[in-house]
Amino acid sequence: MSITVTVNGVVQQINQQTTLTSLQQQLDLPAVGCVFAINDQIIPKGLWSSQVLNEGDRISLFQAIAGG
């Protein structure tokens, strides 16, 4: 069974029980210095490997910035 999520607005079909870590690997998403959020909730890196994605989740990935 697959579920539908969006990653930065792009629709993706993924397997049920996919975690954030496996999504990042499957889609070859950047990870270093990046912030992941699901439905406007930032997911700390320590939870990426246990955070299972659900149907309809809006996943956002953005770079932390340091300039000032």
Binding site: I42, P44, A66, G67, G68
Partner: protein, 267 residues
């Protein structure tokens, strides 16, 4: 009790019911540490001095360069090659002699930060690199001093407040949001460019959040990241949660005695 002069100077904010004389007095009695006197620090410091914050401490080890002038708006052409803290202090004193300015022309490092953070009511992270940002976060967390962190590069801005005072423990910190696995070329204005009003917008928001916190507005929101897309003028809000594996804030009480951390002097 506000003096007549203070009442006149700050009348436009004192007349707001959320501020009033008591809120203004809180601003006048407060000390704010500003780490970094670039685009963020310039904007934030100008508004905080104008608003009557009693004491501003400016920390930066750089000198003004001509390439700073397109966005670091307190600086003037004649300030090129002078220390940023001195140039900014001069402008702030000219703006509001009631605001006491102290300058620290040093890099914000592990030797300097614990004492300076301990003496502040709020810390503004206006620095330009992740190493400093993580250190400022750690010291603020351990000293239980609120941190208002801003960042801007290119067409993007980010701002978030962390209330680390005792009532607000265990809700996460900067390191829960930005892991320490970064590479150093991440997001610096000198490498990637920046549009002046973008960094100004974020610095102004840091000043606004500082005023909200110091005047004790109930709407002050901690642990909420705001991101600004300056091309499309879009704002987004994101909630932060604590990382159970965080090296800074996880599974340890805020204290002054842990071995790995910095030592916060008790004042």
């Amino acid at each position: 009790m506000l003096s007549d002069n203070a009442f006149l100077r700050y009348q436009r904010q004192v007349c707001l019911p959320e501020i009033g004389e008591s809120g203004q007095q809180k601003l006048c009695d407060s000390s704010v540490l500003i780490i970094g006197c670039g685009g963020l620090g310039n904007s934030a410091a100008l508004y905080l001095a104008a608003a009557g914050v009693g004491k501003l401490v400016l920390c930066d080890d750089d000198e003004v360069e001509v390439s700073n002038l397109s966005r670091q708006i307190a600086f003037r052409n004649q300030h090129v090659s002078t220390p940023k803290v001195d140039a900014l202090a001069q402008q702030l004193r000219a703006l509001n002699p009631e605001c006491h300015i102290r300058t620290v022309q040093r890099r914000a490092d592990k030797n300097l930060l614990p004492l300076e953070v301990s003496m502040a009511d709020v810390v503004l992270d206006c620095s330009d690199n992740l190493e400093t940002r993580h250190l400022v976060n750690q010291v603020c967390f351990e000293c239980q001093v609120p941190l208002i962190s801003g960042a801007a590069v290119g067409w993007s801005g980010q701002v978030i407040a962390f209330d680390f005072t005792a009532a607000n423990k265990a809700t996460g910190c900067y390191a829960c949001m930005v892991p320490r696995d970064y590479t150093d070329q991440l997001g610096k204005c000198s490498d990637l460019g920046i549009i002046g009003p973008v960094v100004g917008t974020i610095g102004n928001l840091q000043a606004l959040l500082t005023i909200q916190y110091l005047a004790e507005l109930p709407e002050f929101k901690t642990h909420q990241l705001m991101t600004f897309d300056a091309k499309h003028l879009d704002w987004q809000k994101w909630q932060l949660m604590a990382d159970p594996d965080c090296e800074v804030c996880a599974a340890k009480e805020t204290n002054t005695n842990n071995n790995e951390g910095v030592i916060c002097p008790s004042l």
